[in-house]
Symmetry: C2
Subunit: 262 residues, 2 copies
């Protein structure tokens, strides 16, 4: 197989743009996963793989993965080590990436499960950690407002450890509509907010804990007033320190845990 060495190669240019630009990803309904772990995760999760990209060394070193990805993808290309490290998003690239179709698991909201609602989460590290934690703890799906950071960016995908491929996600034009839909199905909606009517997260009833959507807001500003207003429950994490505030991903982890711990 011919080994591509030039950044001017059309495939390479496409990959670089997919890695860098949210709008380009949206336009082409594709994204890039890098590294053996994420590429295996994408494959195992049934993500449609358009192109497998290896260095020669990586094709030998990870020959099992190479065979699987070559079989699953429409085409496979080989890049020189130098070119691969130029386009890679990591400091020590493994020499493996895939171009994937942006078709994530569809979300269905049902009573008796715990869901997560994210409003305007901006930091890719927080987003990655939140999705990873949600999947690990057993959250059934995530509704996120359109102004959240792109979950298909290389940095978020790395942080999720593949959870983005496995947990159903819905991108919402209007999160209050989704809260209303939950309400009509008898699902509690829990706003995490410091509010005069807020209850400690530990005091939410067992019935509500078992069937709810937990809403987490923007890192700096929290949830929007209209979102808080729409929720059936306002809850806080009781804190004792002087800071009395938590990073969004730590707050999300504690709330999800509190709802799902048995």
């Amino acid at each position: 197989m011919k080994c591509i060495a030039s950044r001017d190669n059309a495939d390479v240019k496409h990959i670089v743009k997919l890695m860098k630009s949210t709008s380009y990803r949206n336009e082409h309904k594709s994204f890039v996963t890098e590294g053996t772990r994420l590429c295996s995760d994408a494959l195992e999760s049934g993500i449609n793989i358009e192109k497998a990209v290896f260095t020669e060394k990586a094709a030998k070193k990870y020959s099992d993965l190479y065979k699987k990805l070559e079989k699953a993808s429409k085409s496979t290309i080989i890049l020189t080590e130098k070119l691969f490290s130029q386009i890679s998003d990591t400091k020590t690239p493994q020499g493996v990436l895939c171009v994937c179709r942006a078709e994530l698991k569809k979300l269905r909201i049902e009573k008796g499960e715990v869901y997560l609602g994210l409003e305007c989460i901006q930091d890719p590290s927080n987003m990655g950690t939140i999705l990873r934690t949600a999947e690990a703890l057993g959250v059934k799906g995530v509704i996120m407002s359109r102004d959240c950071c792109d979950i298909l960016s290389p940095k978020v995908l790395r942080g999720t450890m593949g959870a983005a491929f496995r947990i159903p996600v819905k991108f919402s034009e209007n999160i209050t509509d989704d809260i209303e839909k939950c309400r009509s199905k008898g699902i509690a909606s829990i706003a995490t907010v410091l509010h005069e009517n807020s209850v400690p997260i530990t005091e939410i009833s067992e019935a509500d804990k078992k069937s709810c959507i937990l809403l987490i807001g923007n890192e700096g500003n929290g949830l929007k007033a209209e979102t808080v207003e729409k929720c059936s429950i306002k809850a806080v994490i009781p804190m004792t320190g002087k800071a009395e505030s938590l990073n969004a991903s730590a707050a999300a982890a504690i709330c999800m845990w509190e709802l799902l711990r048995r």
Copy 2:
């Protein structure tokens, strides 16, 4: 007051090195806090401030803070906007920073409290989040191995939201010795580890929860075998997702919460 415009100024060179280099910080026993929030936090926490640094605009805009810091610090200097943004660690600098003495709160281990032990935490975002969460939830102090990332780096300090100034910290040459000391005082030591003898974190006795040190290991490799061996309890966070793993800061948040929730 004369306005400094040159990167060759001795004070400016000192500040830049303090922001960039852990060894330089150790050598000079000083560090830099940037921004109104962290500088106020340092002042309120009784941190010894060696030098206050403002732009002219910031000195006017934050005149209360300027007066307080000018009074508290040994000297105050003014930088041009251009020079300040060149040396700043943030994208939109506020024009305020302080050079501080690296004298953090001393840790005393006592029965009846919850402590945190960190072994080889490498990621500054994780470290910042962990310290912020620890303080917010009421952890009484942190013991950290020398191979953890430097908590006085600008990135960690930003993530802590000032918690690093308020929570007592001990840097440990040998964390197993500290675990042994805890044991001799009747304090439980809890290793977070996937081990054949691990119990769910929810099943730790109330007595142990009230008086313990919780140990969190390196992001990739977890705790060292000898550290796990030394601990009186091995515990896991029960998980249901396919990933079955959590980011170190999310795992730490959930475990601290579980130990401290009342």
